[in-house]
């Protein structure tokens, strides 16, 4: 189970301010904490909403360089702009993850060229210029198209994590079900790895942490390979440990017991 730490995201107010003010310590501290809490990758999103792409290109370089100083964990370059992506990948070097590609205009082949150049694992979203299909069939169809176009460029399906996109349950009460079924079918029919941006599901509802961690367990139950989440949330990380053990993915319950001894498991 690959954990991507989501906290360095400039749509969060505190991070936005830190990026705008170039507060190195704040960003480095968030990176360090997520590393220590067990994140395998650290997501970096510096979209502060200035509306100026030059600014975002510079901010990405700035953030990647200073995060690299404090963690050995690879980074996930989180952007919808090719230029910002390139800036991040250049600053990081090979092995960063690309978050994300889709079938929207300009977000497939050009992004994949960069992924090839910098040897990136890739998160792919089933979106087109017409939007995100509401049903499982539609999402499967777009995912298939993305995979076919990538394979034509010589990519192996092992490079990809497909994220079916969990819409907020508050807005669409079938969203949880559609996302779970999409995850299952991406795995079974396309044979690809999967990931989800976990916290989207609970947007607008009370006690979000409860929904988030329950949903994670359900998704892991249909074979989820990765999740973008808050690794400082001990309850969610405890659920990861418990679920890995309960689904035969933790030999001799080794990780579970190590987490227990470190005092990381909470009920």
């Amino acid at each position: 189970m690959l954990i991507i730490g989501e906290l360095i995201n400039a749509t969060r107010k505190s991070v936005r301010e830190a990026v705008i003010n170039h507060d190195r310590e704040f960003i480095q501290d968030l990176a360090r904490k997520q590393d220590e809490a067990g994140a395998d990758y650290i997501d970096v999103n510096v979209a502060t909403g200035s509306g100026k792409s030059e600014k975002e290109i510079e901010d990405m370089k700035w953030a990647v360089e200073l995060i690299k100083e404090v963690t050995e964990k690879p980074l996930t370059i989180d952007t919808t702009s090719k230029e910002v992506l390139e800036s991040g990948l250049k600053a990081y070097g090979p092995g960063a993850m690309l978050n994300s590609i889709s079938a929207e205009s300009g977000r497939l082949e050009p992004f994949l060229e960069l992924a090839r150049q910098y040897e990136c694992p890739i998160i792919a979203l089933p979106a087109t210029d017409k939007g995100i299909p509401k049903d499982v069939e539609g999402r499967l169809q777009v995912a298939t198209e993305i995979l076919e176009r990538a394979e034509k460029m010589g990519f192996a399906k092992e490079s990809f994590y497909f994220d079916p996109l969990a819409f907020p349950l508050g807005v669409d009460d079938k969203s949880g079900e559609v996302t779970l079924e999409s995850l299952r079918r991406f795995r079974e029919e396309l044979g690809v790895k999967t990931t989800i941006g976990l916290t989207n599901i609970s947007h607008g509802l009370p006690q979000r942490a409860l929904l988030n961690r329950t949903y994670l367990v359900l998704a892991m139950g249909v074979g989820l390979d990765s999740a973008l989440l808050n690794p400082l949330d001990k309850a969610v990380m405890s659920s990861v440990s418990a679920t890995l053990a309960l689904t035969g993915q933790d030999p001799y319950c080794g990780k579970y017991l190590r987490a227990f001894r470190k005092g990381d498991l909470v009920v």
Partner: protein, 216 residues
């Protein structure tokens, strides 16, 4: 409980089944449609707005209230329009997500909130080019134009759309007001691109539009 309180309650509780019966009953008893709307249903929606702002009600419940209002309006709208009443819909809102951006959910919530508050709403969809906004404005003649962007990379398309609207002189004499919103969009950005209004969330958007139009 009075009829008005009952009407208000159907909205607060999201009683889609009950609202139509009750609206019909009120009309049969001789109540004016604008009274049913204004004093009954809208006062319920105001309570919903307040409770949502106070974290006492949540999005799914607000949506259900909005749908309930929608069902009631299906009965009331033809009456309000045919009788040429003074009280018409509060205004016409044209909504779209800007070019390059395919986000739909936030805009749909905004649509629902405006409809629920008595506005007529035209949703021109996602990934809408500046020219398409201009054409739609000419066709539908709204008094409010709402734009959504959920990505920092598509926010500049908002600025371009504002320019295109001004380029066609559609905002001359304050005939329309432009409101922008979406997760990364800030009030400062709204000012910078010369939008008239900024909505931090769907209900806030309705509030600032009402203020700008001098309603309530």
């Amino acid at each position: 409980m009075s009829m008005m309180e009952d009407l208000s309650k159907t909205i607060i509780e999201g009683d889609i089944g009950g609202v139509k019966t009750l609206v019909q009953k009120a009309l049969d008893e001789g109540m004016e449609p604008e009274v049913v709307l204004g004093e009954g249903l809208m006062s319920g929606m105001e309570v919903v707005g307040k409770r949502f702002a106070a974290d006492e009600m949540f999005i799914p419940e607000v949506m259900l209230s909005a749908r309930t209002m929608h069902s009631a309006l299906e009965i009331l709208r033809p009456l309000l329009e045919s009788e040429q009443k003074e009280v018409k819909m509060k205004g016409k809102v044209l909504l779209g997500t800007v070019e390059g951006d395919i986000h739909d959910i936030g805009k749909s919530l905004v649509e629902m909130m405006f409809t629920a508050n008595g506005f007529e709403v035209i949703d021109i969809g996602i990934n809408v080019a500046p020219d398409a906004f201009v054409e739609a404005i000419k066709k539908h003649k709204p008094n409010i134009v709402g734009m959504s962007a959920l990505l920092t990379s598509t926010m500049p398309a908002m600025a371009e759309t504002v320019e295109a609207i001004d380029g066609s002189e559609l905002r001359k004499d304050g005939k329309i007001k432009i409101i922008v919103g979406g997760a990364p969009v800030t009030e400062e950005y709204a000012e910078e691109i010369k939008a008239d209004l900024y909505g931090e969330n769907a209900l806030e958007g309705v509030k600032v539009v009402k203020n700008a139009l001098g309603i309530e």
